[in-house]
Symmetry: C2
Subunit: 193 residues, 2 copies
Amino acid sequence: MTTGKRADAQRNIAAILGAATECLSRDPAASTSEIAKAAGVGRVTLYGHFPSRAELVDAVFVHAIEVGEESLSQVDLTGDPREALARLVESSWHLVDRYAALLVAAQETLPSGRVRELHADPMARVEKLLERGRSEGVFRSDLPVSWLVSVMHNVMHGAAGEIQAGRLSSGKAAGYITATLLAAFTPPGERVA
Amino acid sequence: MTTGKRADAQRNIAAILGAATECLSRDPAASTSEIAKAAGVGRVTLYGHFPSRAELVDAVFVHAIEVGEESLSQVDLTGDPREALARLVESSWHLVDRYAALLVAAQETLPSGRVRELHADPMARVEKLLERGRSEGVFRSDLPVSWLVSVMHNVMHGAAGEIQAGRLSSGKAAGYITATLLAAFTPPGERVA
DNA sequence: CGTAACTCGAACAGTGGTGTTCAACAAGAG
DNA sequence: CTCTTGTTGAACACCACTGTTCGAGTTACG
């Protein structure tokens, strides 16, 4: 092992990371006591591996992004950009739904800009697809790509909120989101799919 | 006056309400000390008029909604629903931009459902316009009205976030929002305005 | 003017978190 | 088996906040 850590230490680190992911996904303000207890570990042990709560949140967030990237990188983005977008939304949506509260935790814990920095890869993927759709004339070019990305982001997180509030069923969300975004991204003068 | 309060007490209540609106609009987690100081008043005085921080936040939020309603009620919602929506967005946007942080404060302070309860009037206005647009065939009917309202809400608050992050200029926001929503609300098969 | 209403700062108790220290104990690695 | 690394709960110091109490001082109001 390149890590000089002992075996049980590695096990505990994994347990803490897992428990933190779960706790923070339920409550963005989850305390270190809560997380340590959920990991079946003493609070001191937690601080032994993560110097501060913020660094733990960072590690959890980085891990979540990695998991997400693994899933997102398998989405086929070739062919009709509209169908590609539908596929990308379908995959992204599951991640957003799962990690919505975690994002909140990161936002209010990590230094400004850090969240966006870690979102660089997934954002680049979306931007690239949107650019291609624009050059093929099926996505609108009268608004900045950064704005379109923001719309996609906010519509998805809005859906997560609606579900949490019990006003939307999980099954319908992906369909609503894609229907909304495909229309929103249609160039003025063109027909909505 | 129907209020049995003394004149200076009334002045202080107004000052506290004003200071709280300003402080909470900057920082949703603003403390009572902060607010009292900004109001030029002792913390004890604040608690003399508002039994708890939560009730103060509630009062501030109610007041903000009232101010908003006053402005929104003057918007002409007759004629082409698309143009009416543009006018409504224009007015709503200023309010959202101003009170975005206040909404966050209310969300994390007030009991679940209270925020939505206080939003009943502005939401009814939007719903009514959307229903009319649907019956005239210019807004889509394949998605629930509640979802369309949520989309409008989230796109506007997303724009507020982009502005706060310095990625969007205040002047362009309203145009982007209306362009996005008009397309998003266009019925499938129809051309985007 | 006199009184009731109001204000003030300081001090207090209570809460709920973060991060550290300590000394005893357990477990992996060689 | 031994030694290093890791783990543990209890206790501690610290911080920032909420909400209350007190007594003294001030202000409106009739």
